[in-house]
Amino acid sequence: MALRFEVLGRFNRARAAHLTLPHFVCETPLFMPVGTQGTIKGLTTNQLEEIGCQIILGNTYHLALRPTSELIDELGGLHKFMNWPRAMLTDSGGFQMVSLLHLADITEKGVTFQSPVDGKPMLLTPEESIQIQNRIGADIIMALDDVVRTIITGPRIEEAMYRTLRWIDRCIAAHKRPHEQNLFGIVQGGLDPVLRDICVRGLVDRNLPGYAIGGLAGGEDKDSFWRVVAQCTAALPEDKPRYVMGVGYPLDIVVCSALGADMYDCVYPTRTARFGTALVPEGLLKLKNRAMSDDTRPIDPACACMVCKNYTRAYIHSLVTKDAMGSQLLSYHNLYYMMQLSRNLHSSIVQGRFPEFVCNFLQKMVCISLSLSSCH
């Protein structure tokens, strides 16, 4: 165990905490931007620090392909490689394997797939995933799990859940740096409460430093999504961090925090920025819209970020989808928004005004559609 988790305040199931990791002391609830290839697209590490980013995510699959985990290890680990002094989390590589590669095949050994580089057959085993993550050196590493989309039904879900439990033991055995890196287990089981419960118990028995709720954020309806999160957070230990993977939309983060989750990750804020969409308290602002071309207000008058302090919607409109600077400025604003949301969640719980914060947050979002499917 290489972390400490100290709850500072609560409201019902929501909690605000200090999560002490080898590289940084974080305040939860928190959102983690995704830095797929060792970088958050559009921002420097200085800017990430400035906006208050605490943990970023690296994708094991992408990094193992380029520039390889061996090179990263040789150069002192991913922190040094990308010059990020704060905390880092790597995923197992399993999700990309399944979502990016049509010919991926999951067996008991691991995930077999065709290398995108030369087409040769390759195998990612739990052992290999952990070894790669050991070389990359993040504060938190994720177990290789058998991920199945919640839209799939049938025996495959049960098979995946039990396999995930068998694989966690292999991950634990393969983990060579338990005093510097925290191995999180991932709860699977689809939308089936019985399967989810079995998985939670199995993982909790292994006494891991933290737990993730996986297999969601993939197209299931919102009610099912929240129900599964609620069930898992109710059953997972109080004194360890809970990470809902692939979430996401600001509303989902607020609701999951109310249900007792602590950590989130998603490509959504930066990806939607590259399509010209800004995150604002009212929901979304589409800067590509013609109406923006002579709107001289900032993106969000209440936002204190560099973009909102200096630029009009009209100017950003002239940049988006045409000039790289448009993506950079919007990414900056969107991540600032997510960091501010994290800070607000943490402080409102600590200061005993969480319900007021949530009501205020929901009131502003009058036009959002609750049937939005989450991103992956």
Binding site: S293, T296, M306, D323
Partner: protein, 255 residues
């Protein structure tokens, strides 16, 4: 030998500090908006719609100062998606870009995407190939852009031709450039420093003729254009010489 040539306009002051044995000189440029003076010779940063290409504005101060305080702006960039009315409403370049301590030098050509199209230029205006297609810019339209953008210094509209045009075409380009110079000066807003455009292609005589004509007008500086359009590297020094021989005190030229 040092000389104290200097020029003032409301936004800009320039003085030569030292001369070499040849024509090279070291100078200093003061712009009202810039907290520290800018040493010359100085390289301008390229921009796209006013902001440097791949460094975001909050990271600009990490570049060495003060040399990175002069930005080149092409007014043509703003024709895509941002009206001059809106730019005026916002308050011009400084307000729009949030860069209050930087100086802007406006020249239509950016040598990357907005390139002079000599075949389409005519007596009415200068033609440019741009990402939004081919545009014909008349002096009056150009001056509207300058008045909205309010850069610290700006070049007058020029007819830039490649090195291989006929003598006749080259001569026409000088005649037009001087005519447009007068039209631009007549419409110039208060507050910006006018840099008269000097062209003339690869002809020493035409270059000299243009420089002499421009030197007669009341301008704050000179923009030497028409380079990077087919002349060889060897030709350039002689062409520049022909321009500077009139002992012009301050020039800025662009490749």
């Amino acid at each position: 030998m040092s000389s104290s040539n200097s020029i003032h306009s409301s936004a800009m002051k320039f003085a030569v500090k030292a001369w070499s044995n040849g024509r090279a000189r070291a100078g200093v440029l003061h712009l009202d908006c810039c907290p520290t003076p800018i040493d010359t010779p100085s390289l301008l940063l390229s921009t796209r719609k006013g902001l440097p290409l791949f460094i975001s504005p909050d990271l600009l101060p990490s570049l060495p100062s003060p040399d990175s305080h002069l930005l080149h702006v092409s007014p043509l960039h703003f024709l895509e998606g941002l009206s001059m009315t809106t730019i005026s409403k916002i308050g011009g370049l400084h307000q729009m870009l949030g860069l209050h301590e930087y100086g802007f030098a406006a020249v239509p050509r950016d040598s990357i995407q907005c390139l002079p199209e000599a075949n389409s230029t005519n007596k009415v205006g200068a033609s440019f190939e741009t990402p939004c297609g081919r545009l014909l810019i008349k002096p009056a339209e150009y001056m509207e852009m300058i008045s909205s953008l309010r850069p610290e210094l700006w070049a007058t509209l020029a007819d830039e031709v490649p090195a291989w045009v006929s003598d006749k075409r080259n001569k026409t380009s000088v005649d037009r450039t001087i005519k447009w110079l007068d039209e631009c000066i007549a419409l110039s807003p208060t507050g910006g420093a006018v840099f008269g455009a000097i062209v003339g292609g690869s002809s020493l005589e035409e270059r000299q003729r243009c420089a002499q004509e421009v030197a007669r007008r009341n301008v704050s500086g000179y923009w030497v254009g028409g380079f990077g359009l087919g002349e060889t590297m060897d030709e350039r020094p002689a062409l520049l010489n022909a321009v500077t021989v009139s002992n012009l005190t301050h020039i800025f030229w662009q490749k």
